[in-house]
């Protein structure tokens, strides 16, 4: 079996968490390096990688881009479905969940990642309105429709938990942290019951209990998902 090392920022779940959940759920051993100096030689503009997370395999070859890491790992960790079509669809839905994750980030950084939130707060307030009223419902309706199409299994694709389910779970975790009032309204509406049920299912997976309750799991703070009360509303 390969040895895996995840290179990621310290102290935030961020995009590293999507990879961690795949390892944790499948009881796959991995190490982490959270010391930026240790992975900065790999990073842009110098390195072959544009951003973390970076996965290092067997102390040699490295791979970046969250979706590429998950697509690479999924068949090895048996998180890729039962056949080629399921595998591609799991990749598709993982990418869609990651798009939602990126859009959630861009709400608090609509102008430039290089600027502070405080320097783009007016723009963020406008972006939040659109995100809450149009984008969250559009994405959740999409996932709800996918789940309804596979109602006998209560997972997004096929009959087993995949990277798509784990990724969507973490995005929902992030949205519940960042937009608790808006997500409360979404939940109460009853229109997204299967989506919120999937969130509960993953949260209660036996294999994840130890990790989710450990202090190895970083809490949300100033990363991808941020709670600015002024951006949230019912």
């Amino acid at each position: 079996m390969s040895s895996y090392t995840l290179l990621y920022w310290p102290g935030i779940p961020g995009r590293g968490e999507y990879v961690r959940l795949a390892f944790e759920y499948t009881n796959t051993k991995y190490k982490e390096i959270n010391v930026p100096n240790a992975f900065s030689p790999h990073l842009s503009p110098k390195g072959p990688h544009f951003a973390v997370p970076i996965l290092q395999i067997d102390n040699g070859w490295t791979l970046s881009q969250t979706a590429a890491i998950l697509a690479y790992l999924a068949p090895k960790l048996k998180l890729a479905g039962a056949n080629e079509h399921e595998q591609a669809t799991i990749n598709q839905l993982t990418l869609t969940a990651l798009d939602l994750s990126t859009e959630a980030h861009d709400v608090h950084h609509p102008v430039a990642n290089a600027l502070y939130y405080e320097d783009q707060k007016d723009e963020a307030l406008r972006a939040a309105e659109d995100f809450k009223s149009l984008r969250i419902p559009k994405y959740l309706t999409h996932f709800e429709t996918v789940l309804k199409g596979n109602a006998e299994n209560n997972v997004l694709v096929g009959s087993a938990i995949s990277t798509a389910d784990l990724t969507l779970f973490q995005v929902l975790e992030g949205l519940l942290f960042a937009f608790p009032r808006r997500m409360g309204t979404m939940k109460k509406s009853g229109q997204y019951d299967k989506t919120f049920a999937l969130h509960e299912t993953v949260k209660n997976l036996k294999n994840l209990q130890h990790y989710l309750k450990s202090d190895r799991r970083n809490e949300f703070s100033m990363g991808l998902f941020r709670h600015y009360p002024e951006l949230d509303s019912e």
Copy 2:
């Protein structure tokens, strides 16, 4: 051999073009459906797909998300490199090129996709400053570094053209259209010679000549890449 049908908006290259180039370069037969009514049942919030492009295979199964479509097609069209590591790295770099494509779009739509450009022009002017001064150089330096690491081959990964090269080519085409003055400065600097050379290489690929010169190739207009002179500068 499978039969492929690409479902995409009419009249713009958009994200459909990344898939078209893979088909065209490999002389793979495909059909297109560009009538929104024909693919709207598949689309969010109703359908199993969040957005076009959607690939329909053998008149049955469908797949969406540009990167998922390309990752699915790449090994079938021999655009996935020579082994598993090259395949994963090609997926990684394709995703990074697509991120640049999305960032280029978000420059003219920083607040909300649902709003007109004219309603977010002030924010777009601010976003363009960051995109031109930081993001374009950061991405191009990244791709330049990758190309330098594979200097004997003049492609991003391995020794043959892959989806990563075709995708980066199209993103560069889009940037040259949207930000001609800024890209002119980038080219003149001499710091990105391998990246611009790759653009030329793909542009001159024998297999692509017929398509690139045909009227089937949509010109850039009001899609992902837009030329607003006020957003461009040297």
